[in-house]
Amino acid sequence: MAAAPTPSAPTSPAPLLRIRELRKSFGAHEVLKDISLEVHAGEVVSIIGASGSGKSTFLRCINVMEMPDGGLLDFEDAHFDFAPGARGRPTPAQLRALRARIGMVFQSYNLWPHMSVLENVIEAPMRVKGVPRAEAVALAEGLLERIGLADKRGAYPSRLSGGQQQRVAIVRALAMKPRLMLFDEVTSALDPELVGEVLALMASLAKEGMTMLLVTHEIGFAREVSTRTVFFDQGRIAEDGPPREVLYRPASERLQQFLKRVLHEHVAGPTGEAP
């Protein structure tokens, strides 16, 4: 069925997300070169790769925060063709509908500082989905309860720690009841001692069966939590498979070098990627 078969994807009938031959350039720099990937419901796909390998751009193309230069995207009833002049290019309304079903969490939390924690969480459900306020508040309270921040509902984000802010940002995305969650290096801006609480929340989501794509430098987390690991190299998917296979028996020399470097940094201390 697919023009470009995705290696070693679990074979269940219809993938939740199907991306074919996705391309994206910034000026003359080709960031993504014909990326094809299928993600089935319940999969947790970790994306690893060196800085500049295109993994964050790829994530941002999935909810079209970046407009791809070409390729196809299928997600539930959305079918987009990004080729210039194609009839399938998404309209603004289609983009909003897509984004309402795909949650995204950013490295820098991006909570809205002028709104309380509760207001941050109820804003999109009320505005985008027209959920009545009482219902949105009840949902938000339940989610805040779950992450142990129910008592912070009236606080402004500036009063929270980085780890608390990031967990609220995750809950803000969950309040839209997304079918897919995208995590873009969500622990990279955190102090080391706060990383654990955010990863724990993500692990519990994975356990509940949330479909997730995460760009991460936490190799250990990728190994333990994800069902599949994808290695990006120079704008292409270089390896794709079960995490233990990809991470313990890397086929390519590029991945071997990458892992050696990242794991060495882990031992040395800083986990962050060089800019």
Binding site: I102, F106, N110, A124
Partner: protein
Amino acid sequence: MSFSEWLDFFLPYVPGFLHASWLVLVLTVLVILVSWACGLVVALGKASQIGVIRQASVFYIWFVRGTPALIQIFIVYFGLPQLGLGLSPFVAGVLALGINSGAYVAEIIRSGLSAIPKGQVESSLALGMSRSETMRRIVLPQVVRIILPAITNEAISTLKNTSLLSTITVVELTLYAQTIIATTFRPFEFYAATAVIYLVMTTMLSQVAAMLERYNARYV
């Protein structure tokens, strides 16, 4: 002069001063409204994709900030009738000062917009909010907080600049004082009194702004 003599001397002019001060406040509010409208349009125009709109905005700011407000007032009041557009002193004054202040407001709004981190917009769009919802609910409330001190300064300048309209026969505070002085020959007393009234009004304005600023600082 004893105090009661002072009082007897000033008392007949108090209603006139109050009326002229009221006119200053009305002028100020109208000029501010015109300047905000101009400022918002020009600030967005300067960020426009369309070259002509961008260049027009840049020209407007360049011209208005590079020429005296008094000359701009003269162009609108004395110059436009030559082109068939005669305006009353009041309307010409509001328009000229509004256009003048608008250039400064545009720069203030532009700096406020550029101070909002890109991630604020992205997180809103990523949740499915539209561009206009994002502007209204996420960006503008934060811009208002950032630009409030600068906007207050501009409002105070505007209030003081209404005195320029005395030159085109708008009987606001300054022209009213001049007409009294022409008959009483007491420039020191009446100009001093006029200055105090301006001072009271500008002080009130900064007090209001300080209150707003405290309210807006609640989440910092």
